[in-house]
Amino acid sequence: MKFMMAELCGKVTGYCKGKGGSMHIADRDKGILGANGIVGAGHDIALGAGLSAQYRGTDQVCVCFFGDASTNQGTFHEALNMASIFKLPIVFVCENNHYGISMSSDRHMAIKDVADRGAAYGIPGIAVDGNDVLAINEAAVEAVARARKGQGPTLLECKTYRWRGHFEGDPGSYKPKEEQEAWLKKDPIPRFAAFLKENNILTEDDLAALDAQVKTELAEAILFADESPIPAPESVVQDIYSDIVEEVRVR
């Protein structure tokens, strides 16, 4: 969390040394190939990661996350087709929050379930309640097992909602009030907490401690970001190539 916060603040200690920013958080060492600023670009990159895992003979599986509106990009369709014919170990996870900026999913596509799109490419398409942690877990475990068995990709659609605007400063006024209110009631966090309590997995105190721990981590992350140095201006021309360092203008 602290490296992410530092990156958001453009600090040298951030995941991307302050060069990537909020849209490009990445950590290759953890197998994270980055958030992407180009809607739909990740679908194709997932192909390569899947191919690589298959080629190297590991049991790695590539999990590719994307939004509902990104599935209107050609890349989505090309990637699903190619992953399917090559039986690549990929789980395509669509976080369907029902909006692409101001465009609701019933305006940006003519079908209800993104999951249906899997059929066109011979891929199982599974729609689950995206606010149900356990339902997602179950579907994901199965999709990963399928990928590991060499049976190819799965398209997993998690139905959820975007609570706020698309960006800071977007009031989200295009979202109908009743729709918003109905979804707010389906908040997955209290729902899962209730499940944990009811099944005597965690007590009220455990949950409160967890909450406090998260708050502490967040405060520490903010402090870390605040206290971290900004990048040296000359670093602007580093990391472009593995070997060449471009010239800096002399002021």
């Binding site: 990156e7 060069k19 021309v237």
Partner: protein, 322 residues
């Protein structure tokens, strides 16, 4: 006379033609009731309706391709890409289709389409939302390219871009949308006509887009130091007003070119080469060319500022030419 922001002027240009010609229409991501990611088309959905101001899904290839097909069959579409950076996704439709169709068809078709391309850095939008890619499109025969630097120019060039029977790339700098200026004329500004933004006699600073304002700031400062700099804004990158450049250099004999693009391979290089080839005799010394560093656009503000060319760089360049 009216005071308008750059964004409002672009909107006004589109709206004027849409009121006059039912074949002009606007489409792109979130351009409808939302009014566009930068608010440029705010209110147009209400005025013209969803048939003419249309939200599209996130499909840049299809957005540009739809403009091509519509232009080929009698409409005059304006397609908005939310950021110029997304040209990459629609590049085939632009480069292989829009630009070449008339030629490949032996001149028997026209392609009256405008593609709006919000460009430029300085707003902390990082590597994939801040680029200046005008050289990509100036390189392609069949495309015209304009880049207004003021509300007046934005309005006049938008009118001409819509009126033109060829694909016109309308580059707009996202950090200038809120910039205010006087609009005195509601007439089209012909493509290929540059403008002297500040008169001077010692050196010509040729600048495009937001760099025009850096050049003006530099000229003001240089004036205090006794150097009289002329600021020339080509406004159209292609066609390029070489006559105006020659006229100015005939007076100043010195040229500094400043564009916001990565310097390597930027359109500033084309302007420089044109001067070298056609106006060498007018020059007292080699052309100086400024641009952004040859790096992706970094996120951290300190790095982004290091990346961008600015008035200080121009002043330094001019001082070194004396």
């Amino acid at each position: 006379m009216k005071t308008m922001t750059y964004g409002e002027a672009i909107r006004e240009g589109m709206s004027i033609r849409m009121r006059e010609d039912p074949n002009v229409l606007l489409f792109g991501e979130d351009v409808g009731a939302f009014g566009g990611c930068f608010g440029v088309s705010a209110g147009m959905f209400n005025e013209f309706g969803g048939k003419r101001v249309r939200d599209t899904p996130i499909s840049e290839g299809a957005i540009i391709g739809m403009a091509v097909g519509a232009a080929a069959t009698g409409l005059r579409p304006i397609a908005e890409l939310m950021f110029i950076d997304f040209l990459t996704v629609g590049m085939d439709q632009l480069v292989n289709q829009a630009a070449k169709m008339r030629y490949m068809f032996g001149g028997k078709i026209s392609m009256p389409m405008v593609v709006r391309l919000p460009a430029g850095a300085g707003v902390g939008a990082a590597a994939q939302h801040s680029q200046s890619l005008e050289a990509w499109v100036t390189h392609v025969p069949g495309l015209k390219v304009v880049y207004p630097s003021t509300p007046q120019d934005a309005l006049g060039l938008m009118l001409s871009a819509i009126d033109d029977d060829n694909p016109v790339m309308f580059v707009e700098h996202k950090a200038m949308y809120a910039m205010k200026g006087e609009v005195t004329s509601f007439d089209p500004i012909p493509l290929g006509k540059g403008d002297i933004k500040h008169e001077g006699k010692d050196v010509t600073i040729i600048a495009t887009g937001k760099m025009v304002h850096e050049a003006l700031a530099a000229a003001k400062k240089l004036e205090g130091d006794g150097i009289s700099a002329e600021v020339l804004d080509p406004r159209s990158l292609y066609p390029l007003d070489t006559d105006l450049i020659a006229q100015s250099l005939g007076k100043t004999h010195r040229a500094v070119i400043v564009t916001e693009e990565n310097k390597r391979g930027g359109y500033g290089g084309e302007i420089s080469a044109t001067i070298g080839e056609q106006m060498f005799d007018l020059l007292d010394m080699p052309v100086v060319r400024l641009g952004a560093l040859n790096s992706p656009v970094p996120f951290a503000p300190v790095l982004e500022q290091a990346y961008l060319p600015n008035a200080q760089d121009i002043i330094l360049a001019v001082n070194q030419m004396q």
